[in-house]
Structures are given as structure tokens and as C-alpha cells.
């Protein structure tokens, strides 16, 4: 529990940074920053596998401590999947869904995606600090670690998600109002999400987007739809 709390706290801290420094990041539109050099759309007739979202939801206590909430996470997984399925622009006939049991063997790959996505977010999207060797390009790869996934599914692309959300508890909301009266601003939860499209032949991250904002809710279907839409806003089309 402790370790998960850190990851979310780290993400929350990044949200705070990004909101102050680069507000544009929160509402990233389609831009070259989201695409790997030379990539603009998915290949015609290509197949895509959607990997189960690495997701954790937290409640923020009055003092700001994050506690994981399994019930929220479970509801959010459902809402997220439903919202994703509704995105016909993204998922269609040539989309493969993985079973829960597949995830046991793919856990390390999913964890690796989390680390790569975090590196892309920190060094590429935020540039804090930017890595000179990357030349401001989206130039990351999961490498041959994706081979088992390609062999198992025969897909050309894989879509990964990593999401950590926190919401203010009732006491936290009271604290926010009370402190606001005293002129102190507290954060009332945050939403951090990474989405990566990975070319399974090379392991390259060909498209990436992130959410880092102080609003958004996955616990209810309607706001969950908004979250998925925002996260996949610049998602590449399939070539005709």
C-alpha cells in the first residue's frame, strides 16, 4: 500500500508542476510532440491489442494522505473499458482484447510500460529535464520485451494505459474550503494518465498522450467518457 501511495503522490506532484509551468500539457491536442518521428497513422489493415489498464484510485484524506480504494478502482476499470469501447475511432473490428489471465504473464511488460511512459512524460512532455540525446523527439522504445505479446496476439500495435487518480474525501473537501477562507490553496485530488501506442514489430512508442490535471473522475460513467476522450484526443487514425 505504501509503495502505491508513493507513485500516486509522485504523479500528483507532477500534476502540480505541470499545472503551474506548462498548462498546455493538460489539454494536449494533436501535435508532433505526441507522435514519433515519421509516424502519422496506423498502417492500413493493421490489428491492435488493448492491454488492460494499469489503474489505481486513491482517496485523499483531510491531511492529504493517499489511500488506495479497491472499490473505486474496480468501478473505474469498468467505466474506462466501456468508455473505450464506445470510441469507435480508436477501437474497431480489428481490435483484440486481452483476457484477465493473460495479464499474469504480461505484468512485467505492463510495469515496463509504466516506467517508459513516466520517462516520456517527465523528460519529453514536461521537459523536466529534457534529455539532450533525445533531441526533443518522441524517441522511446519498449524494445524486444513486446515480442511475447506480438506472438500471442499477432497484433501490429498495442495500446497501453497507466492511470493514477485521487479524489478528495469529504473531510478533505471541508479542509479545502476552510483553508481557502484562510487564503491557503489545497489540491483536491488529481488525475494522472498515460496512454501509449506501441509498434509491436519494433517496440517503439509511436504515439503518446498524457493527462495531468486537477479534475476528471473515473468513478462515474459520464465523467469517465470525458477522461477517455481527453486522453485519446490525438490518437492516430488507421490509414485507408
Amino acid at each position: 500500500m505504501h509503495r502505491i501511495a508513493f507513485r500516486a503522490a509522485f504523479a500528483a506532484a507532477l500534476v502540480a508542476v505541470s499545472c503551474l509551468a506548462v498548462p498546455a500539457v493538460a489539454q494536449t491536442g494533436a501535435s508532433s510532440r505526441n507522435y514519433a518521428p515519421g509516424f502519422s497513422q496506423r498502417a492500413a489493415g493493421s490489428r491492435m491489442v488493448v492491454v488492460q489498464t494499469d489503474m489505481e484510485l486513491f482517496s485523499q484524506s483531510a491531511g492529504g494522505v493517499l489511500e488506495p480504494r479497491a472499490d473505486w478502482t474496480e468501478a473505474a476499470q469498468k467505466n474506462f473499458r466501456a468508455a473505450l469501447t464506445a470510441q469507435k475511432r480508436v477501437v474497431g473490428d480489428n481490435t483484440i482484447a486481452l483476457q484477465e489471465k493473460d495479464m499474469d504473464e504480461l505484468a512485467q511488460l505492463n510495469a515496463l510500460h509504466g516506467a517508459v511512459a513516466e520517462a516520456v512524460f517527465v523528460h519529453h512532455m514536461l521537459g523536466a529535464p529534457a534529455l539532450p540525446t533525445k533531441g526533443r523527439l518522441l524517441d522511446w522504445t519498449l524494445g524486444d520485451a513486446v515480442q511475447p505479446l506480438r506472438e500471442r496476439t499477432g497484433a501490429d500495435y498495442a495500446l497501453f494505459f497507466w492511470i493514477r487518480d485521487s479524489y478528495a474525501s469529504a473531510e478533505r473537501k471541508v479542509a479545502i474550503v476552510a483553508m481557502a477562507l484562510l487564503g491557503v490553496g489545497l489540491t483536491g485530488g488529481s488525475q494522472t494518465g498515460y496512454a501509449s501506442l506501441v509498434d509491436l514489430r519494433t517496440g517503439r512508442v509511436v504515439w503518446f498522450n498524457n493527462l495531468a490535471r486537477g479534475f476528471g473522475d473515473l468513478r462515474e460513467p459520464e465523467p469517465a467518457r470525458e477522461t477517455v476522450e481527453a486522453l485519446l484526443k490525438s490518437f492516430p487514425e488507421v490509414a485507408r
Binding site: A9, Q108, A111, L112, A115, A119
Partner: protein, 538 residues
């Protein structure tokens, strides 16, 4: 001054003489009190007519005062300004309405009083005063010059009657207020006789205000100690008080004789509180002067009184760090580390610590065969440099250069990596005489803050031209369960000063895809590691 006021002050003076007399009798030094009360404070004087030489001097000073007030050197701290004004009022025996005190931010021991009633007090002087009585002694001395109008006498004594216009002309050509003030000070260099008279008057003023006169002698004691370390050779060339206030060895004893042992207020705590909000900036100014030996005498003296003062420890550490000779870096580290552990150290302490580590591990030179991203910055307090290929969440190459016995391999394990039930954080620390497996153990401990570590292989290897060991390990990262793979090199080098120095490198990356791919790049860098003969100066 009207008769009523004069009469009232006359009464007060006699009352004071009376009480001092009593005190003196009790102390058995009646003669001394008699000595001082023989000194008459001249009454307030009117502004001289503008067509006289003195009137011209006043007009010039008025203009300079306006410029000074607008200059960035003026310390615009209302509390300090009113504190100084109040102190001067209590000292000046009726001259208060004619005097304006301006604190200025200049890191030298100096104070100055112009004939028009403008008094300047340098921040370097205030930094050096140990209590209110010492400040009263210096200000009293300056007031002595003023009330007896020594400046005007000095001007008139000058052989060249055109000196005033010359000085006015020069002032027009000097750009900064600072330069002008220096010139003005030069103009008012006093004679020995004037100095003695001002000493006596200063003593009279401070004792009548209730201060312990012996502190006046302490001022000179402290200042002389500071000057002696540099032999006092260029004392007269640096705009210090000595330049315009010639001093002799006998001066201190004479002051002590005048002071008697009647005692009085010293005001240690009151003074400390007043300057506390501004002192850190003054300490930093002092360090920046680059007069390291003098600064060390000053800070040593201050620390003798306040050994647990984080600001002073920080300041002395900075002197050692910037001088960087012989044992200095070790001294800097000791002071800065102590400061950082005290409550509320200056934030600059951590930056300075980072710079010490940086200066130190620049002893390890590497040649980069391929492009790497350096991600450690000057604010980082860890004693290693960090480089990465794919980003901090993925991989890092860390280099330690010249860690000395007693020094930690990391300064602060991040809070989030602590287990909830952990009591004390463990900081792996290098010690002399460690066998190879213990050296490897240090790195095991280091990475244990990030997850579960298992050492999988240890073998002899060369690193940085020394015989050492190479070790491999796995790390199950606690934050995301990602399996990481790591390799490290560590060697200990004999050092004439420290006994031993540790040199090391580690490289860590995700076991999947990354480790195998990036390892050759890390190894290529590690192969080039060499120890520099002397650490570079910063």
C-alpha cells in the same frame, strides 16, 4: 536650544553624574568617573551660512545624502533604521534632532559621520558587533567627531584651501555611491589627536547612556585579531575604519582605563534579536569579500559564542568551500553537514553541500564515448553524479569520486522509499579498511532504499586504475514492481590525507529489453574512469 531645555538637560546630566559617581564609588574607581564627567558635550549647533567653507561642505553632504537614500546600498529595513536612530538618540545627548542614521549594506568594518548630521553605519560593522554596547561604543566615537566638529577642523587645517572644490569635482566623476562614500571618508581622515578626543567623548556618551564601557576595548581587540592574520599590510587600502581612524597599540589599554570597571548594560540578546532577520545576507556578503583568513577569524570568534548557530556554520563552511585549499573541503563538509542537521538551516546550506560533493567527485574523470544525459544538478545533495540514456524512471549510471572515510554514499534517502515501520533511515557510510564484500554491502544497502536487492555475482576487477571489485545485482523496485538489473564497480585508493578514498560506479536498468542493450554503453564509460591528480578549483 532654549533655556528651558538646556536647564532640564543640565539637571539630567547632574543626576547622571551623581549616579555614575555612586557606582564608581562602589566600584572603587571614583577618579575615572570624575575624568569622564569633565568632558563637556558641546550644545547643538546651527546650520552654517552657505557662503562659508563649512556651509559649502554641508550643502555637498546634503546632496550626497539624498543620493545615498535612493541608492540600493541603503538598508531599507524600518525596524533596523528606527533601532539605530533610537540608539543614537540615547547616546547623542541632545543632538538627536540633527542626526540621521543610514544603515548601508557594505561588508566592511566602518561607520562614518558627516558634519551635516548624516551618519552611515556599514553592515560589515553591525555583523562584527557582539552586543549593543559595542555598537554604542563605535557610534559614540563617531558622534564624538561630530559634536566636536573634527571634520571641519580637518578641512580647515588642510594646506590646500581648494581641497573642498577638488573633492566636489572628483565626486562628480565617480559613478557609484559606494565610491563617493569612500572618497568622503578619505576626506575626513582624522588626526591622532582627534581620535583620542573622539574616544574619550564616545566613552563619555556610552557610559552616560548606561553601557559597559569595557566593550569599547573589546571592539578593538576583535578587530585587531582579524587584521593581524593578514599582517595588516593593506589595511589602509581597503576602506576600513582604520583607514580614516588611525590607531595605536596603546589605544585599547587607554579605552580600558577610561571605561573603568563600573559595568553597565551590554545588551547581547537585544542586539542579536535586532539584526537576526538581516544577518544571513551580511554573512554572505562577508564570504564574498574573498578575505578568507579574516572571515575565518571572525566566524571562529562568533562560533565560539554561538556554536549551534546554523547560519554561522553555513557561512564558515562556505569560506572553506570557496577557498578550497588543503583540508578545506573536509572542513566545509563538516560545517555544512552540522548546519544542515540543526533546526532551520539556511536553504543555501543544501546547495553548498551539493557543490562540495560536486567539487569532490570531479576528481573522477570519465570519457564519454557516446552521448549521455547528465541529470544531476547543483542542488542535488547526493555525493554522486547521475547520467541516463532513457530517463530517470528507467536507467541511471552513477559515479562516485573520492568519497572519504566517514562520508555517506548518499545524503538523504527519499522519504517515500521508507517502509512505514522503519525507525531510522539507513545511510550507507564509507569506512577505511573495509574488505571487498563489505564495500559491495554498502551498495546493497544503498539500493535497498529503492526495493529488494540481491547480489548475484562479485569478481575482482580494475576501476579508475585501482584494483577493486565488479558486482552484479537484481533489484525488485518497490514503487512499481519492475524487475531491474544492476552492475557496479568499486575500488579504494590510498590517500595521503584521508587514508583512503572510495571510487565507484553503478548502472541500473529494467531487466526487460533495457539492461542488455544499454550495458555496453555504460561499460564503455566506466572503462575510461581515471582519477585526477588534483581536484579542480571552482
Amino acid at each position: 536650544m532654549d533655556a528651558h531645555e538646556s536647564g532640564r538637560r543640565g539637571f539630567l546630566r547632574s543626576a547622571c553624574r551623581h549616579c555614575l559617581g555612586l557606582g564608581a564609588l562602589a566600584g572603587g574607581v571614583g577618579a575615572l568617573a570624575q575624568d569622564l564627567s569633565g568632558i563637556k558635550v558641546p550644545p547643538r549647533f546651527a546650520r552654517p551660512a552657505s557662503d562659508t567653507d563649512e556651509g559649502g561642505l554641508w550643502g555637498m553632504m546634503d546632496r550626497e545624502e539624498v543620493r545615498l537614500k535612493r541608492s540600493p546600498l541603503t538598508i531599507r529595513d524600518k525596524e533596523l533604521q528606527s533601532y539605530l536612530a533610537d540608539l543614537v538618540c540615547r547616546l547623542s545627548d541632545g543632538h538627536c534632532p540633527d542626526i540621521r542614521v543610514h544603515p548601508v549594506r557594505m561588508p566592511r568594518f566602518n561607520a562614518m559621520m558627516a558634519p551635516n548630521g548624516m551618519m552611515l553605519v556599514w553592515s560589515g560593522l553591525m555583523l562584527r558587533m557582539e552586543n549593543e554596547a559595542q555598537l554604542a561604543a563605535v557610534l559614540g566615537h563617531e558622534l564624538g567627531h561630530y559634536v566636536e566638529r573634527h571634520q571641519v577642523e580637518q578641512l580647515r587645517a588642510a594646506k590646500d584651501r581648494a581641497v573642498l572644490s577638488t573633492v566636489v569635482g572628483m565626486i562628480g566623476g565617480v559613478g557609484t555611491v559606494l565610491g563617493q562614500i569612500g572618497l568622503l571618508a578619505d576626506m575626513f581622515a582624522f588626526s591622532r589627536e582627534h581620535e583620542e578626543r573622539a574616544d574619550r567623548m564616545g566613552m563619555r556618551l556610552m557610559r552616560h547612556a548606561g553601557y559597559d564601557g569595557r566593550e569599547a576595548a573589546a571592539v578593538w581587540d576583535n578587530l585587531l585579531a582579524e587584521m593581524q592574520v593578514t599582517g595588516g599590510k593593506d589595511v589602509g587600502k581597503r576602506g576600513d575604519l582604520f583607514e580614516t581612524h588611525p590607531t595605536t597599540a596603546g589605544r585599547r589599554d587607554q579605552l580600558l582605563k577610561l571605561a573603568g570597571d563600573a559595568g553597565g548594560i551590554t545588551g547581547d540578546e537585544a542586539y542579536r534579536k535586532k539584526i537576526a532577520p538581516l544577518r544571513l545576507g551580511w554573512l554572505q556578503d562577508e564570504v564574498k569579500r574573498g578575505q578568507y583568513e579574516e572571515s575565518l577569524v571572525l566566524f571562529d570568534r562568533m562560533l565560539k559564542k554561538e556554536g549551534q548557530d546554523a547560519e554561522l556554520l553555513y557561512a564558515r563552511g562556505e569560506v572553506y568551500r570557496t577557498r578550497d585549499e588543503g583540508n578545506d573541503m573536509q572542513q566545509a563538509l563538516t560545517d555544512l553537514d552540522r548546519a544542515s542537521r540543526l533546526p532551520r538551516p539556511p536553504v543555501e546550506t543544501f546547495r553548498a553541500l551539493g557543490l562540495v560533493h560536486k567539487q569532490r567527485h570531479e576528481r573522477l574523470a570519465v570519457h564519454l564515448t557516446e552521448a549521455w544525459n547528465k541529470v544531476s544538478d547543483p542542488w542535488e545533495v547526493d555525493p554522486y553524479d547521475t547520467w541516463t540514456q532513457e530517463g530517470i524512471p528507467l536507467d541511471h549510471l552513477r559515479l562516485w569520486g573520492g568519497v572519504r572515510p566517514g562520508q555517506p554514499l548518499m545524503t538523504k534517502p527519499a522519504m517515500f522509499s521508507r517502509e512505514p515501520d522503519a525507525k531510522e533511515r539507513r545511510v550507507p557510510t564509507f569506512r577505511a579498511g573495509l574488505p571487498p564484500e563489505k564495500l559491495v554491502g554498502l551498495f546493497e544497502e544503498l539500493y535497498a532504499t529503492a526495493g529488494t536487492v540481491a547480489i548475484t555475482r562479485v569478481e575482482p576487477a580494475m576501476f579508475a586504475g585501482q584494483k577493486g571489485v565488479r558486482f552484479e545485482f537484481t533489484l525488485a523496485r518497490r514503487s512499481d514492481d519492475l524487475a531491474m538489473q544492476g552492475v557496479g564497480w568499486v575500488a579504494v585508493r590510498p590517500d595521503p590525507t584521508w587514508g583512503e578514498e572510495l571510487y565507484a560506479a553503478t548502472f541500473v536498468a529494467p531487466r526487460l529489453s533495457f539492461y542488455e542493450r544499454l550495458l555496453p554503453m555504460a561499460e564503455a564509460v566506466v572503462k575510461t574512469a581515471r582519477v585526477r591528480a588534483t581536484p579542480p578549483r571552482s
